[in-house]
Amino acid sequence: MSDGVSINLISREKLTTMNEEEKVAFILSEVMDGKVLVLEEGLSPVEEADLMRRTMASIDHDTFIGIEIQGYYNANDLKRSAFKRFFARRTPPRMTVIGPAAHLRTIYKDGSVIQALILTEKPYIEGQAEAPPVAQATEA
C-alpha cells in the first residue's frame, strides 16, 4: 500500500450489526492498523469508556500510543435537566472521528465543527514538503 493514511467512513448500519464488544474491537483493530475512522453514528459513553480501557491495554509505547477521538457533543442532551434526561429517549451519539494518536491531531472543535490534522510519517516542515491534509467535518 502506498504512503498515506486511510480514512474510512463507517455507516450507522455497519455498526448496528455488531454488539458493543464487537464494535469496540472492530474500531480498535482498524485504528491500530493505522486507519482513521469517521463513524456516522458515534459510540455511547459506555462504549467509549470500554474503548479507552482497551486502548490503554493495547499501548506498547513504540508503535501505538493510543487514540484520538472526537465527536460532536449534543448540546440539547447536555443542557437537558436531570428529570428530562431520566425520562427522555437519549439522542444517539453523533458523528465521531477516531484515529491513531500518532497520526491524528484535533486542532479545533466546537458544537458544529471538528477540525483535525492527519499527520503522515514524515514530519511536515514548512517550505520543504507538502502540507499534510486537513480533515474537516461539519455538522449537516
Binding site: N19, E20, E21, V24, S44, P45, V46, E48, A49, D50, M52, R53, R54, T55, M56, A57, I59, H61, I65, G66, I67, E68, I69, Q70, G71, Y73, L78, K79, R80, S81, A82, R85, A101, A102, K109, D110
Partner: protein, 234 residues
C-alpha cells in the same frame, strides 16, 4: 493520630494485557441495578471518586479535602502529567457543614486519557527515556484501574481545569458514563486561581450538573464545595 488511613489498592489485580474480554458485555444493564442496590443498602461510608483528565488538579483537591478534615496528605503532585498512577483511598473522612455531616472514603484516581506518549515526558519535561517509559506504562495501567473503579464508587467529584476547554472527549465520556450509572456528580471547576479563568464556562457547558468553582491549591471556595458535597452526596 487520625483514624483516617491511606490505602493504595485496586478492586482487583490490574492486568494490562489480560483484561477480561467479556467484561464489556452486559455492562450497561449491570450499572443501574448495581448502583441502585448499593444506594439502597448503603454502607456507613460512601466512596467518593475524584475523576478527571490528567493535570486537572485531582490529587491537589484530594490533598486539600483530606488535609482540611484529617490533617494529612494523600499523594504527591507535579506539573508533569500522570503523577498519580495508582488509585489511592483515604478512609473515614468526616465532612461537616453546619449541623449536617458526611462520612466518606475519598478515592483519588489516575487521570483518564485516550493516549499516553512517553516522548512527551522526555521532550517537554526533560525526563530520561527509561523513566518516561516506566511512567507511561504505569499511566496506562492507572487509566484502566480508574475506569474499573467506576464500579466501586457511590459518587463523583469530577475535576476540570477552569483554564481549559471543558468540551474534551474525556470529560464528555466520563460524564456520560456517570449518567449511565446514575451516580451523583459534582463538577469541581478547579484552578480558578489562574488569571483569566472563567469558571462560568464550565457551569454553562454542563448546566445539568451542579458545579463549584474552587482553587484546591489556594483553598479558595472550599467551604462552598463542602457545603455542596454534604448536600449532594448525603
Amino acid at each position: 493520630m487520625h483514624k483516617a488511613d491511606v490505602v493504595g489498592y485496586s478492586p482487583e489485580p490490574v492486568s494490562v494485557r489480560g483484561w477480561k474480554e467479556k467484561e464489556a458485555t452486559g455492562l450497561r444493564a449491570k450499572f443501574s441495578v448495581r448502583s441502585w442496590l448499593k444506594r439502597l443498602f448503603r454502607r456507613k461510608n460512601i466512596k467518593i471518586g475524584i475523576y478527571g483528565p490528567p493535570n486537572a488538579g485531582k490529587t491537589t483537591l484530594a490533598n486539600r479535602i483530606v488535609m482540611d478534615w484529617a490533617g494529612e496528605v494523600m499523594g504527591s503532585v507535579s506539573d508533569v502529567p500522570h503523577e498519580t498512577r495508582k488509585t489511592k483511598v483515604k478512609k473515614n473522612i468526616a465532612i461537616k457543614h453546619g449541623k449536617k455531616s458526611l462520612s466518606l472514603d475519598i478515592v483519588d484516581t489516575p487521570g483518564v486519557a485516550t493516549k499516553i506518549d512517553f516522548h512527551e515526558f522526555v521532550d517537554t519535561y526533560g525526563m530520561s527515556e527509561d523513566d518516561s517509559r516506566l511512567r507511561a506504562r504505569e499511566a496506562t495501567e492507572g487509566v484502566i484501574e480508574a475506569i474499573k473503579w467506576l464500579d466501586e464508587i457511590d459518587g463523583i467529584l469530577l475535576a476540570m481545569d477552569s483554564s481549559e476547554d471543558p468540551f474534551t472527549q474525556v470529560n464528555i465520556t466520563i460524564l456520560g458514563n456517570l449518567e449511565a450509572r446514575k451516580l451523583p456528580i459534582l463538577i469541581v471547576a478547579n484552578k480558578v486561581d489562574i488569571p483569566g479563568t472563567d469558571a462560568a464556562v464550565i457551569k454553562n457547558a454542563f448546566p445539568q450538573h451542579p458545579s463549584v468553582p474552587v482553587s484546591a491549591l489556594t483553598g479558595y471556595n472550599m467551604e462552598r464545595l463542602y457545603e455542596a458535597m454534604v448536600k449532594h452526596f448525603r
